[in-house]
């Protein structure tokens, strides 16, 4: 049954949301990403897998120009969002990050109330004209983050007081509140216990209806569970990119097979 639905999913083609061509990333002298070409579809979960230090997080951070905050990082090649180069001089990285949201490895709620955490993005970007609209955005985002029922009675409580899993869902709600088109997730479950992980994974599957989701994960089971497309990175190279079911059942590259069967990484 699951196998069936996976094949069904694979069959549905979506528009290309992000397309990366010949991307090179350097950290000072270190060539961290080499010749990466990848096309990320809309309304799809794309997983980046690979051993530690293979460059998957670095590449993810290129997609919303988070690497701009690191002085020594240089990027070459083209990354197109809806056909426009995001590294073009005319693109404001701050504006871009509102369109390409990000969820981090460690839950990082701001030391503010739950409400203010979620309202942070909308307030900065002026998405709400009045308090009622803002309330609406906050509620909708918290619902999308699958945490509304747990926090609706204590929106004034500090976000840092929640449990780890709740904090991460709050961070997802916070990212969703600015209505991004793409949601980048950098190992969102690595600091969570299995139950919280299951909740977040379920949430990711729901988010797929509205967003294009890119998730970096160390857990191959997680990649297999939540994603439709998988990219395998190794030593800065994109080794293989394809349908998740194909990558996990019938990998083309021997390195992918070694990694998936646990011989490397």
């Amino acid at each position: 049954m699951t196998q069936m639905s996976k094949i069904e999913r694979a069959a549905t083609m979506h528009d290309i949301k992000i397309s990366a061509k010949d991307v090179q990333v350097y950290y000072g002298e270190n060539h961290a990403i080499k010749d990466v070409n990848v096309e990320i579809e809309d309304k799809t979960v794309t997983a980046f897998i690979g051993p530690s230090g293979c460059g998957k997080s670095t590449f993810l951070r290129c997609l919303n120009r988070m690497n701009d905050t690191i002085d020594i990082c240089r990027i070459k090649g083209d990354i197109l969002l809806d056909g426009e180069d995001i590294y073009d001089k005319r693109v404001d990285p701050v504006q871009l990050r509102a369109k390409v949201g990000m969820v981090f490895q460690k839950p990082n709620p701001f030391p503010k109330s739950i409400y203010d955490n979620v309202a942070y993005g909308p307030r900065i970007h002026g998405l709400a004209r009045n308090k009622a609209e803002l309330d609406e955005i906050v509620e909708k985002s918290l619902r999308r983050g699958a945490i509304w029922d747990e926090v609706k009675d204590r929106l004034d409580a500090p976000g840092t007081g929640l449990s780890g899993g709740q904090q991460q869902r709050l961070c997802i709600a916070r990212a969703v509140a600015t209505e991004p088109e793409v949601l980048l997730m950098d190992e969102p479950c690595s600091a969570l216990d299995p139950i919280a992980t299951a909740q977040v994974e379920e949430l990711i599957d729901e988010l797929r209806q509205n967003f294009s989701v890119v998730i970096v994960t160390h857990s191959m089971q997680q990649a297999a569970r939540v994603s439709q497309k998988t990219a395998f990175f190794h030593l800065g190279n994109l080794v293989e990119f394809g349908e998740t079911s194909q990558i996990f059942t019938n990998p083309v590259d021997p390195r992918t097979e070694s990694y998936i069967t646990g011989r490397i990484g």
Partner: protein
């Protein structure tokens, strides 16, 4: 034998003990290191420690106690009719000490023989001239009672020194022998040395704490002493500060001084907090690594400038500059170069590195993930700083500001030179005022009698200052600690 010679002997004994203990331990196992409980050096250290430490402790205690005991018994020689109160007795006793010292010197220089020195008579010898000849000048002729007391002091000191030498050497040798005898393969020398080190560390810590305690107690008792001479109400709520030269002051009200302190500190903080905070934000959030690399040390150099230099700067540059704008030629608000503003501005400059360097550390302690979260939502750098970083660092920054405030309240030199000496209650920031600290200095310097309320008031002022800064520090520590809990 003198204390320094004793010390040298004890050190030699310890050195010998180290070698002996080490060799004895090695010999007890026939040179096989593995059979020893501890490394051979530990056995050596153990012997050295036991030979040296108890003996030195005895030496130290004896050296402190002996003069007290001798003083007490020598003062018994002086007849009661000779003095009226404690103060007069103290003066006589210092004469006695000088005579005893002078006689010792005379013997040492060969002016007198040892036996001649013991049978001196004030009638037959001009002691004052004799002692003057060996370099000990006396204020008056030596009375027979003083000479008798001095002779008694000399005798007691001589015997005391002999007894001390004997006891200290006995303690050293005793420790040495005990330690050498217990040195064998199974002795846990390593653990013994460890506990020795523990005691050393505890000792150091307790000296620090006890000294503080002693200072506080002396403040408290002298303050109580002051309040028995001067009504506490007049001190705490008096609005005039005008001490008379010697006794009989009616106006020793702290309020004008307190007001000066608070006013000047306030001006200083108004200068230091924004500048320091913005500098910290720039350094920690915006500056590139190279800029930070030279700007931060440069800023911290400000903290290394002695406050007297700041005082000079206030008096010779800032004061005249202010006068040229606000003085008689300008707006006419300022009478002289010394004013609250002069001292406050310069003190503010002095406090900038305090605020900036503490805030910088605190801002850096805000986790990077917090900033990433904000940037990831499309916030700009200043939005991130204003809405995420500063609120997260706020408790720590408040702590830094309170520490700077307690520093401002305790500052003396800049105030003495920049703000003047006039105690007054005034709102004009261009008027000369003075602070608690500056008045403590002026009350205790110069020729004053330490038993008069004019001098004792310094302790009450000090106590007030202490309570003020203690309160601020406790508040600052409380806030900083609360902040720390947030990220654990």
């Amino acid at each position: 034998m003198s204390a320094s010679w004793l010390l040298i002997i004890l050190l030699a004994l310890a050195g010998l003990g180290f070698l002996l203990g080490r060799n004895r331990a090695l010999a007890s196992v026939g040179g096989d290191l593995r059979k020893l409980h501890s490394l051979p050096n530990y056995y050596g250290f153990n012997v050295a420690m036991l030979a040296f430490v108890p003996a030195v402790l005895v030496l130290g205690l004896w050296a402190v106690a002996q003069p007290m005991v001798i003083d007490a018994s020598a003062s018994g020689v002086i007849p009661q009719t000779y003095y009226q109160d404690e103060g007069a007795l103290n003066l006589i006793m210092s004469d006695v000490r000088r005579v005893a010292e002078g006689l010792d010197l005379a013997v040492a220089q060969g002016v007198l023989s040892a036996s001649e020195a013991t049978v001196l008579n004030t009638q037959t010898t001009d002691l004052r001239a004799l002692l003057g000849g060996v370099g000990v000048a006396l204020g008056s002729e030596v009375a027979p009672e003083v000479l008798a007391a001095a002779q008694k002091m000399r005798v007691m000191t001589a015997t005391g020194n002999w007894i001390m030498t004997a006891i200290v050497l006995a303690a050293g040798l005793g420790g040495f022998l005990v330690a050498v005898r217990m040195t064998q393969a199974t002795l846990r020398a390593r653990n013994l040395v460890e506990s020795g080190i523990l005691i050393l560390l505890i000792g150091a810590a307790s000296i620090a704490i006890l000294t503080t305690l002693g200072i506080v107690l002396s403040l408290i008792f002298n303050t109580i002493n002051f309040f028995s001479l001067f009504p506490a109400g007049d001190f705490l709520f008096g609005t005039t500060w005008s001490p008379e030269g010697r006794g009989g002051s009616e106006h020793l009200g702290i309020l004008p001084l307190l007001w000066g302190t608070i006013y000047i500190s306030l001006v200083a903080l108004v200068v230091a907090v924004p500048i320091g905070l913005f500098a910290a934000v720039y350094l920690s959030e915006y500056a590139s690594r190279t800029t930070r690399g030279f700007a931060k040390p440069l800023l911290e150099v400000l903290a290394g400038i002695p406050t007297i230099v700041y005082g000079l700067f206030a008096l010779t540059i800032v004061g005249p500059m202010l006068v040229s704008v606000f003085g008689a030629d300008g707006l006419g608000w300022m009478q002289g170069t010394r004013s609250v503003m002069t001292a406050g501005l310069v003190m503010g400059v002095m406090l900038i590195p305090f605020v900036s360097s503490l805030s910088d550390d605190i801002i850096n302690a805000v986790p990077q993930t917090m900033r990433d979260g904000s940037y990831g939502l499309g916030a700009t750098q200043s939005e991130t700083v204003r809405q995420v970083v500063l609120p997260a660092a706020l408790p720590g920054i408040v702590g830094a500001i309170l520490l700077a405030a307690s520093r401002a309240i305790g500052e003396t030199m800049i105030v003495v030179m920049g703000a003047g000496a006039a105690a007054r209650l005034d709102l004009n920031p261009f008027a000369a005022m003075t602070t608690v600290t500056a008045k403590i200095v002026s009350q205790l310097t110069g020729d004053s009698d330490f038993a008069s309320p004019e001098a004792l008031v310094a302790f009450a002022l000090g106590m007030t200052l202490f309570i003020l800064t203690l309160g601020l520090n406790v508040l600052a520590l409380y806030i900083v600690r609360k902040y720390r809990e947030q990220y654990e």
